[in-house]
């Protein structure tokens, strides 16, 4: 029996030692000076100082490490002991009792511990989660707006393109018969070498359609351009809301030299006439006077006339023409007949051009499509009488001839214009001639230098010298003659 008790006691001892070892592992912050050796001598030494139940302490030691500061108030005194040994300073409490608790400690024992109590009354700052991590489409509203704008642009492009196409087709359908009866070649895009009739419009753009007609007496050819509004461009559509503009049909008839006499004439709306007089080369040179009101010739006041001479106006403005102009005055933008047509004035970078621009006998008609932008395909039928007027004009001008006086006046005008042009460009032409002469001399000198045979070289040099001498003599003669004449 005594052996049994001793065994039991030994077992208890071992058990106690085990407990202490495991406790020792928890107490990592211990100074190794206070030691397991001490506890080995006196197993229950750690419990001696504490007034409370040792069991409570044993239980309490591991949890305070893991558990947060939720139970410091209840187990204050225990924790005070435990915390002292553990150094668990992070479980802070705003409570005053905690403050007292801390003030008991020796300041030197703890490093880096600040006695200041942070107040938990500061408001929590909520940092904003960046928008792209928020998982909400609402933050991308600008991008959605942009994409919507693009979609609107594309929709408008498709709708505008289709409308222009329908308008062009409607125009062609209503005019096809008239054109085919007057021209052998209707529709040519210029790609084939032979002149074959394609019978359809040539699309240059989403808003410009061309039609070339040829094969008729009295004219070389007729180019019809349907200049519609840029309905396919949303920006243009918005701009047109501020400033309404209409679709235009431009007809340009080029004539052979024998098909028209020499004159320049224009009739159209007042605004258009003022603009053309400034812009067009021939109108500015030959029709210097202000546009005259059309009322004198029986056409509406809204139209005005630019003419080289009165005889031309009288000749062009016959009754049928007056009838056309009166009944379709709103659709007529401008009508321009000219034998000196060279297009608008060209601004050249190097000052005046050295040569007169090439001219061609041309009839240029610009018609406004009714509707002021809101055109429907039915409106295209109303342009048919205007095409009749074009055909009539071609035939009429073939027969229109100026009398002798008119012809002389016209010739004088053309000579005057040419002379003015030559005067303006005189200096430049002189310079150009000088450079040409110098180039010639240089080329000749080079030729002489390159000549290998010395005899031949000498002979060429002599010939050049003789030529120079002759030129000088000629000049001197001329000067003498001028002096004599002056005297």
């Amino acid at each position: 029996m005594c052996v049994g008790f001793q065994e039991l006691r030994f077992t208890l001892l071992v058990y106690t030692i085990n407990i202490r070892v495991s406790l020792g592992r928890y107490n990592d912050d211990f100074d190794d000076g206070e030691d397991i050796a001490e506890f080995d001598d006196n197993d229950f030494a750690e419990f001696e100082d504490v007034s409370e139940d040792p069991a409570v302490d044993v239980e309490k030691e591991p949890p305070p490490r893991a558990a947060p500061s939720s139970t410091p108030i209840e187990d204050e005194e225990d924790e005070a002991t435990v915390e002292n040994e553990d150094g668990q300073d992070e479980f802070e409490d705003a409570d005053a009792q905690d403050q007292d608790m801390y003030s008991k400690y020796d300041n030197e024992e703890f490093e880096g511990h600040e006695k200041t109590n942070p107040s938990f009354k500061d408001t929590l700052i909520y940092r904003e989660v960046p928008a792209h991590l928020q998982n909400s489409w609402e933050s991308y509203y600008m991008e959605i707006l942009m994409v919507t704008g693009l979609l609107a642009y594309i929709m408008n492009y498709i709708i505008g393109k289709n409308k222009n196409s329908r308008l062009a087709q409607a125009w062609f359908n209503s005019h096809r018969e008239l054109l085919e009866s007057n021209f052998a070649l209707v529709g040519d895009d210029g790609t084939s070498k032979e002149a074959t009739s394609t019978g359809k419009l040539n699309q240059e753009n989403e808003h410009i359609y061309n039609l070339w007609c040829s094969g008729r007496v009295c004219c070389e050819g007729m180019l019809i351009q349907l200049k519609f509004l840029k309905r396919q461009d949303l920006l243009n559509v918005l701009a047109r809301m501020m400033r309404p503009v209409c679709d235009q049909v431009q007809v340009k008839v080029t004539l052979n030299d024998e098909d028209m006499d020499t004159f320049v004439f224009a009739v159209g709306s007042r605004k258009a006439m003022a603009r053309l007089q400034k812009e067009m080369q021939d109108l500015s040179e030959f029709c210097g006077d202000k546009p005259k009101s059309g009322a004198k010739y029986g056409i509406p006041e809204s139209l005005s006339i630019l003419s080289e001479m009165g005889e031309v106006t009288d000749g062009v403005m016959d009754s049928k023409m007056v009838h056309y102009l009166t009944s379709h005055a709103d659709k007529i933008e401008s009508i321009h007949f000219s034998d000196q047509f060279s297009g608008p004035k060209v601004m050249q970078e190097e000052g005046q051009p050295l040569k007169l621009p090439e001219t061609k006998k041309t009839l240029l008609f610009t018609f406004n499509v009714p509707g002021m932008g809101n055109t429907s395909p039915k409106d295209m039928d109303s342009l048919l009488p205007l095409m009749n007027m074009v055909i009539y004009s071609i035939d009429k001008l073939k027969k229109l001839r100026l009398n002798r006086e008119g012809k002389q006046k016209a010739d004088r005008n053309r000579a005057r214009v040419e002379e003015n042009f030559l005067k303006q460009t005189h200096a430049q032409r002189q310079e150009a001639a000088q450079t040409r002469r110098e180039e010639k001399k240089r080329a000749e000198k080079e030729r002489i230098m390159n000549e290998e045979d010395p005899d031949r070289q000498r002979r060429l040099e002599e010939a050049a010298q003789r030529r120079e001498q002759k030129k000088l003599e000629k000049k001197q003669m001329k000067m003498k003659q001028i002096k004599v004449k002056a005297m």
């Binding site: 792209h132 642009y153 032979e194 753009n205 070339w212 040829s214 007496v217 180019l223 949303l234």
Partner: protein
Amino acid sequence: MDLSAKIIYKPPNTETNPTLEDPTPDYMNLLGMIFSMCGLMLKLKWCAWIAVYCSFISFANSRSSEDTKQMMSSFMLSISAVVMSYLQNPQPMSPPW
């Protein structure tokens, strides 16, 4: 109908008369390229978006005879500017106000 010699259509020579040509598609093309480069280099999203719009406007105003390759390259450049600026910075665009 009196017949006469048929003459083949010759397109008006716009090189001698540049005033006849509409400069809008060329300007828009150039603007588009400039904005694309700004969007790519300076990482500005709004530049890239404007470049896309410029490409669309240039396409809408272009002539039929114009090279489609140039249009396509302009589109691709502007779209790549948009994509690159969002890859580098996925945050949404902030309005200027």
